[in-house]
Symmetry: C2
Amino acid sequence: MRPVAIIGIGQTVIDEQWEKSLRDIAAEAVVSAMHDARREFADGLFVGNMMSGTVNGQNNLGPLVADWAGVRSEPASPLHAGPSTALRAGAVKVEAACASGGAAFRSGLMAVASGELESAIVVGVEKMTDRHPHEVTAALATAADADYEVDMGVSFVGLNALIMRRYMHEYGWKHADFAPFAINAHANAVHNPFARLRHKITLDDFEKSAMIATPINLLDASPIGDGAAAVYIVPAESVRSGTRILVAGSASATDTLAIHDRTEPLFLAAAYKSAQEAYRQAGVGPDDIGVFELHDAFTIMSALSLEACGFAERGQGIRPGLDGEIGPTGRIPLATRGGLKARGHPVGATGVYQIVEVVQQLRGECGETQVPGARVGMAQNIGGSGATIVTHILKAG
Amino acid sequence: MRPVAIIGIGQTVIDEQWEKSLRDIAAEAVVSAMHDARREFADGLFVGNMMSGTVNGQNNLGPLVADWAGVRSEPASPLHAGPSTALRAGAVKVEAACASGGAAFRSGLMAVASGELESAIVVGVEKMTDRHPHEVTAALATAADADYEVDMGVSFVGLNALIMRRYMHEYGWKHADFAPFAINAHANAVHNPFARLRHKITLDDFEKSAMIATPINLLDASPIGDGAAAVYIVPAESVRSGTRILVAGSASATDTLAIHDRTEPLFLAAAYKSAQEAYRQAGVGPDDIGVFELHDAFTIMSALSLEACGFAERGQGIRPGLDGEIGPTGRIPLATRGGLKARGHPVGATGVYQIVEVVQQLRGECGETQVPGARVGMAQNIGGSGATIVTHILKAG
């Protein structure tokens, strides 16, 4: 398997972008990544998206985005003298609920690593705000088990609330203990021009915010939004050191879809498994990770991810927050561009935003929230309540 | 890129399977393929599916199917002494409209070819008949351009009807000239226990069948259905010759999503491009193809595919049918197990059915519709009206 490198990144603001369609924002990110990579062509396109069929009435995003963004392959057909609009190695959509972005990146990675493609663009996109919030809530619930969870009346927030409540009961934490994750994310988002919620919050704000599904309140939860992020990848050997970010580890693992089928519902087995495999591939451990873009869709998920990935003991995942270790200059910087919590969570796009943000950190482009001397970063994307977890480790290279 | 081989296949009957859910039929095909491969574990799972989010209220099919089918990875975690339920290399859904099955197979192929996985299962599944036909028609339309085609009022059958009418006008063919494709498919399906429509039809039946969208009548069109098909793949080097079918060529290409954006709406550019690339990889040409499982969703698509893949001149794609060359003993055997037309078209599953059927031919398991001495076969899967086209060439190996 040949090493793969990222040579271009692009992203759109995350917001209610009512004046733009799904294809517009996807193309905006793709063109931006191609411009950053200084490339005009690509062999293949991988689109991470969760709910376009349900919310936008549009499947087959591969050719839609390739065409709209003008992603073309180099001439390879006697029918066309110029660049061909028929993308040489095709385009597909990869779906793994909220982990669609990370899964699409991994698919693109393997296509380039295999030698089949010499270049690929991975774009994560979600256009969620054109529909009524009730419809979006229903669409989000398709990430859980339709027959054995959703049909019983539970929403996706409700499932996370059950986990959080059990965690608090089991380990004796109180709700305010989760606040540092949200406060840190909002503080970092202030400096990210692409973030949806660019304002600071206090512990008092956190404690007084509206209850959504006990014990999850508004500031435990991440906001949805319309957004797209993209990366351009090539074989590492094809570009010189200093102009690329290396993909040092890539792993994915699954757990049962329904939470009630798990032996240990408070342990993210797929996060553990994919992180261990990514560490092994990259030859690093938790202590080497300079920045960790984790899947903080809800504050409880930050705690569980830190435990599963070796940054905290079981039941102690909120310690790094309470101990002031998660800021840009802390032991394990989290959500440095705002995370899902404040940058925003356009579900199928999120995994690619995370990759883009780790690249920004390793390039040293993060200004006020730059992690000093960051050389190794990790992005972890979760689909469903821990059912699909994709972990990537990047290195400056 | 290391060569990959298929060592197991499985499929369910295609029908209205109201007593089973999506997960049931997917698991049935997966377990059948694992049994055929004599394997109990797999590294990764790839699910080809188009409309589960829309029609079944269920995304995140990767972990759903992995869990339900009992696809486990071998022990790799200190948390588990026995086989782990957390699939080592994860599971994703790949979507490319009606080409989802072929695209999922290609994704699994690249994952194994890259060296990242030592084994993978690819399953195509679609559960379409639990909803009202009007809802299924709307879901099928998500394969076309939502903003510029579907919003104008055209259905997916309607788009194909426009192409067929133009083709008849341009080249002077009459409707009955398309009959041989349907008659051959139905004749072959009689002998396939998994096929949906196991009855012969005559030219008279074809000419008198109900009009759907002029000039497409009921017997030009393929039936939907509930079904799943699966294959088990490994590195070719890991199994000995005689127990495997080699994947000799794999290619995918895109065209514009909307037909009106194409310079030549009667030429399947992506079929041409992906077939050429697959021929190149396999070191073969049209004359070497012993069996061709093409995407006969509508009879016009058979004609266009034959032209784009080098089996007929432009405008002459229906000739092989009229000349009696498409039966199991003909020059270019098509739809040998019934094709989309009579075996049935459970959209996201179809591409994997095609692969399974080519494997059956190369293994010599097709009884009355066995192609004598078949050594090389091709499967071609189309998503949208030619927007995504995936071509695979298999060889007895």
